[in-house]
Symmetry: C2
Subunit: 228 residues, 2 copies
DNA sequence: CTCATGTGGTGTTTATAATACACTAAGACG
DNA sequence: CGTCTTAGTGTATTATAAACACCACATGAG
């Protein structure tokens, strides 16, 4: 067996989990109970185990700390500036995910010690350099949304076009033309109209759609796919 | 002082450095002199030091192993599957860069132990999962090139439009229409025509341009910028 | 000397995609 | 029964991308 001459840093994973509701774009945070930054809010995450893949570690930590499971995680970037953790050198691999907030409520009895959803643009100060990570994730989310139809993970299984448009407007922080938006989103071929309609807040019947995941995978296959 | 309960993996950086010449797109590799994979070719890289930023580590390893310095490195992704190094758990943060190959010749006296440029699509088998890293870098390079004017780093300070087009065609593996290409690349406003002309292989005078780095920075500023 | 070859340079037309824009139908509620 | 709210729809305009062919000039071969 051989070994490296250099000392090893700690390696952690952190997850930026975005959710959406009427109040806007939210991010899932946990309250730390240990020093440093005890009582501060932070991105869920923690040390990797040596026999786990990075993505698995992220998923495990997320489940342990927030109870949130079953989500699509994508690698964001790795942060490793010396001094970002006062204890020792810590490299953190950041992941990001988007989920339907309503299906991922957090409460003590889901296993969450003290997890909560916060508005991204009005979150408490974050521990370590987590604000930096969050900001990068936000940029990535916006850029992904601009370049490809995405974000249906934020919505329930069945949704209306108006909901999709609100989603886009909220995340991109800009108003979109209703007719152009519907045209564009429908010509992607990713939305399947259902036979059902939803009765709306104003008691107006609205056509329901579902996201055609297989069509999406087919599209991805002939385009780019970033996974490791 | 506090400490983590989990054991620490090794952390390394690896660099995918692309260069271009008449023979096509090349990648900078080094020949390993130690087990495992002794004598195999591999991406330049190595263990981080605890007081260095990740990018600094990448730059240092690259200089030590290949003599290549002064380049723009961008973080690509982090690879950490258990078993990717037979010795121990190793997390590697991959960086990628594009350089002008002619200005970065490698030879033993530049400090390179045994570094060489290889065609990307005809490289020797690589150590570890380096082929995977290289393939991801290649995809990233193509996708960047498609979405924004880039790649001038491959060229010398002064260059002709034909050179730029050849660059694009080589990397994207597709032919491009000359007039449309020139139109598009000139309307970006990133190329400054010089008073000089170059006398070409066929002894034909060709207009020289230089890359307007400041204009590029201005553009980036109001668009996306991915750095950590 | 001239003719074939290779390379730099140039505009216009057509198709496709993005944008701007305004009204109707229907139920809720007072 | 009038007002409010929301779902749904089509066309004209503009910008962007794609297709396409020829000339000028120097070289080198015969």
């Amino acid at each position: 067996m051989y070994s490296y001459e250099y000392p090893h840093p700690a390696v952690t994973v952190d997850c930026v989990v975005f959710g959406l509701d009427d109040g806007g774009l939210k991010v899932l945070l946990i309250q730390r109970d240990l020093e440093p930054f005890a009582l501060s809010w932070a991105l869920p995450g923690g040390s990797i185990k040596l026999d786990e893949d990075l993505g698995q570690s992220a998923r495990r930590e997320l489940a342990e700390e927030t109870g949130v499971t079953d989500l699509y995680l994508e690698q964001l970037a790795t942060f490793g500036k010396p001094g970002r953790d006062p204890r020792e050198r810590v490299i953190t691999v950041a992941y990001f995910a988007i989920v339907n907030l309503l299906e991922h409520k957090v409460s003590p009895d889901t296993g969450a010690r003290s997890a909560a959803w916060f508005p991204v643009d009005d979150s408490p100060p974050l521990a370590f350099d987590h604000r930096l990570i969050l900001d990068l994730a936000l940029m990535r989310l916006q850029s992904k949304l601009r370049n490809q139809p995405l974000g249906f993970e934020f919505l329930p299984e069945k949704f209306t076009l108006t909901q999709v448009q609100r989603l886009y407007e909220t995340i991109l922080c800009e108003g979109l033309d209703k007719r152009n938006f519907r045209k564009k989103i429908l010509t992607t071929g990713l939305l399947v109209p259902l036979d059902e309609v939803e009765i709306d807040v104003a008691h107006r019947a609205a056509q329901l759609y579902r996201f055609d995941k297989e069509a999406y995978v087919r599209l991805q296959a002939q385009g780019y796919a970033f996974e490791i």
